[in-house]
């Protein structure tokens, strides 16, 4: 179920400007309530798109989050 948690977070980052702003301000705080493994949380907090992708994050989401697009 962890893949679901990662991808719903990515989807929120893409679609929800308020959440995206909270994430930009303090990633760890924005993710505090998320049901993530330690590896997922670390990859998201340090914004490592390749690692997030390796952990199950969908490529198309990772390539299309405003301000965080990875190519």
């Amino acid at each position: 179920m962890s893949r679901y948690a990662v991808n719903t977070l990515l989807y929120r980052l893409k679609k929800d400007p308020d959440f995206r702003a909270r994430f930009a301000a303090d990633r760890a705080v924005a993710l505090a309530d998320a049901d993530l493994s330690d590896a997922e949380r670390e990859a998201l907090v340090h914004w490592d798109p390749r690692q997030i992708n390796a952990l199950g994050g969908y490529l198309h989401l990772l390539m299309s989050i405003p301000g965080l697009e990875g190519h």
Binding site: N7, T8, P49, Y58, L59, H60, M63, P66, H71
Partner: protein, 281 residues
Amino acid sequence: MGRIVFAGAMSHVLDPDYYGTHCGPRGRQMVQELMALVGEMGTRMAAAEPDALVVVADDHLNVFSFNAVPAICVRIGTHVERMEQDHAVAFDRLLDRLPRRYLLHEALANTVLEEGLEADFDLTMSWEAPLDHAFLSPVTALVGDGTVPPLVPIFVNCFVAPQPTPRRCFAFGQHLARVVARHPWNVAVIATGGLSHFPELTFARVGESDVAFDRKIMAWLGAAEHDALCALTMKTLHEAGGHELLNWMVAAGAAAPARAREVYFGELGRINLAAVEWELP
């Protein structure tokens, strides 16, 4: 009764600036060549005077995620909106220049849905799904300054595993053809996307395509080798980056047994751009 009067398929990121940025001047030139040829396809489509345009394309985790991911979804209703996104990625920013609403062919969409369920296709319906570049870029390139026929958008899940099989997508295309044959409308069908890119959907392989795989697909489409196409597995498509071939399989099924004529094939490294037009009787 009705006929499929035009069937084609083409890549759907039709944005010279995007390819200029990621692939240089050659990328820009190639997509401009493709867009010009798609425009010529559109001239032939318009001459056939379709009552409706069925557009088969995929969701890039932009519409349905994640409360439900339909395998195949028919967009019903009277109108459809183009997607509006804050800070859209490059090729979706092009949508801002397009009309906000498009007319749907409500009767055909409802018939595809209702007769599909009667024929054991467990289709999803949506009254709200908006359209992004996967639908509207090819439609715009086809129609140019002309009038967009009433649309029947059909979403195929190309990216969120498990996806429908190539065989099932082809069979759904055959269902479209049967529906058209039973009813009075003349219909154009296009499928969008591809060819291969983003193999395995992994960052490590962004920038790769699979020329040998795509050449094989084009040859099979050209020879109407539908058994070979239907025998493809999602694993094969995933490894090659051929996910969006699922959309093309629907059009191939709708046009069967016709052969597809190659309109364009261009190797770009990051993706192979292509367009085909089926040689309908």
